[in-house]
């Protein structure tokens, strides 16, 4: 709806999924948390299951939109819109989430990175065919500590740069948005953070590691230049690492 209201898309057909029963459930599976396409962002944010089982997801959700928007906006809707800079797509890639995609004749499970690593899911020839629908997202169960931080022009809007750092059983993961056109999983930065834990690493060490984690060109727009994004991403990541460490030792 926001894309239509801003005249960015003019779909031939709009299907309202709001009244499909059962799609609003958050289920605990053996190795995953499964969320249907109607799970609202606020519902996921307030879910004790999400907080306990998927380190970092609730922390990131608290920075998405605002309470009124989050009550109606869905987790999957936010993911598949895959807006450049958006927090959740980067988080889904870094945490190894998977999508359940229903085609007319089959249901397949695909890594979130396979769909979200392509800029603009609705772009011509990319992403999903029009008759396919993402019905569920699977989040690997990985409890632990997390820290999230972002720099945004205005609270509740897509950030300039965001970073999530999670630590689960000594395994560190880092998600960064707003640097490349799609969200980034940053294993090189994660290695540096894990090495120095619980001290936050230096921003220069993170800046060097970030270079190895880039998947494409750094983008710039009217809000922030590519140079600024590249400068601020290590600082934002360092702050997220500090927040994670505070919670891990608490």
């Amino acid at each position: 709806m926001p894309l239509m209201a801003r005249r960015l898309v003019r779909p031939e057909l709009v299907i309202d999924i709001n009244r499909i029963a059962g799609l609003d459930a958050i289920e605990v599976l053996a190795s995953h948390i499964r969320m249907g396409a109607l799970v609202r962002q606020e519902q996921a944010l307030r879910s004790s299951v999400v907080r306990e089982c998927v380190a970092g997801l609730a922390e990131a959700l608290a920075w998405v939109g605002n309470p009124v928007v989050r009550q109606r906006g869905t987790v999957i809707g936010n993911l598949v819109a895959n807006t450049p800079g958006s927090e959740l797509p980067a988080v889904a890639i870094a945490l190894g989430a998977e999508f359940v995609v229903r085609h007319p004749d089959a249901e397949v499970t695909v890594p979130a990175a396979a769909l979200l690593g392509v800029a603009n899911l609705f772009g011509a020839g990319k992403g999903l065919p029009p008759e396919a629908m993402v019905t569920h997202v699977l989040w690997p169960r990985r409890p632990g500590a997390a820290g999230f931080y972002e720099v945004a022009r205005r609270d509740g809007h897509a950030p300039v740069v965001s970073a999530l750092v999670t630590m689960s059983n000594d395994e560190c993961r880092v998600a960064v948005s707003g640097v490349c056109a799609t969200g980034l999983s940053c294993p090189s930065m994660a290695r540096i953070i894990a090495r120095d834990f619980p001290q936050p690493p230096s921003a220069s060490a993170l800046a060097g590691a970030l270079q190895d984690d880039l998947t494409g060109p750094v983008y710039g727009d009217a809000h922030s230049s590519a140079r600024y994004r590249l400068d601020v991403a290590p600082l934002v990541s360092r702050r997220a690492a500090g927040l994670m460490a505070l919670r891990a030792v608490a």
Binding site: M1, P2, M4, A5, R6, P11, E12, L13, V14, D16, N18, G65, N66, P67, V68, V69, Q71, R72, D155, G156
Partner: protein, 172 residues
């Protein structure tokens, strides 16, 4: 899509409304044009400013980001239902609800364009927090929660300080 027409019916501020509308007709337009709900203010038209916020089946919704057909069968409440949303009667010489009285007392509005949406979502915010505060061990909302709530509303007159003061004054 724009050629398709649908019959929709909903209650708006307890009055049943029924109309044949185009598929792409917005709920905000329906409320203003078909239901006479002039308290639904449309400003940005794409969900950023919060001026058109109404309650649809008890949930705060941007009326400009919902199609009228999506609200078929729903119970919609605008600022005209504020007393019901607050769960408190309008009283006094001017017939104001406690929230309206607090807004006046604290000068929490100037031009008033953003005010109806702000009142609707604040009433829902307060009822959520009253429910949460009733549980043991839950403090009443702190300033951070109020700021988070106000994040969804743009006001170009007040600078928000007076709105925050008004909301703080009516919270338990």
């Amino acid at each position: 899509m724009s050629e398709e027409w649908h019959q929709v019916s909903m209650t708006v501020d307890d009055v049943p409304r029924r109309a044949r509308v185009r598929a792409r007709y917005l709920l905000s337009d329906f409320l203003r044009e078909q239901a006479g709900a002039g308290g639904v203010h449309v400003a940005c038209g794409h969900g950023v400013c919060g001026a058109c916020t109404v309650a649809v089946d008890g949930i705060a919704v941007r009326a400009c980001l919902m199609l009228a057909v999506q609200a078929d069968g729903a119970h919609v409440q605008t600022v005209a239902s504020l007393s019901a949303l607050e769960g408190a009667p309008a009283s006094g010489r001017d017939g104001l609800t406690p929230l309206q009285a607090a807004f006046r007392e604290h000068h929490a509005l100037q031009c008033g364009y953003c005010t109806p949406g702000l009142l609707v979502s604040t009433a829902l915010f307060m009822s959520q927090h009253k429910a949460a505060a009733a549980l043991p061990g839950n403090p009443s909302p702190r300033r951070a929660a109020i700021l988070d709530h106000l994040n969804g509303h743009l006001c170009r007159c007040t600078g928000y300080a007076n709105i925050i003061a008004a909301i703080e004054s009516v919270l338990p």
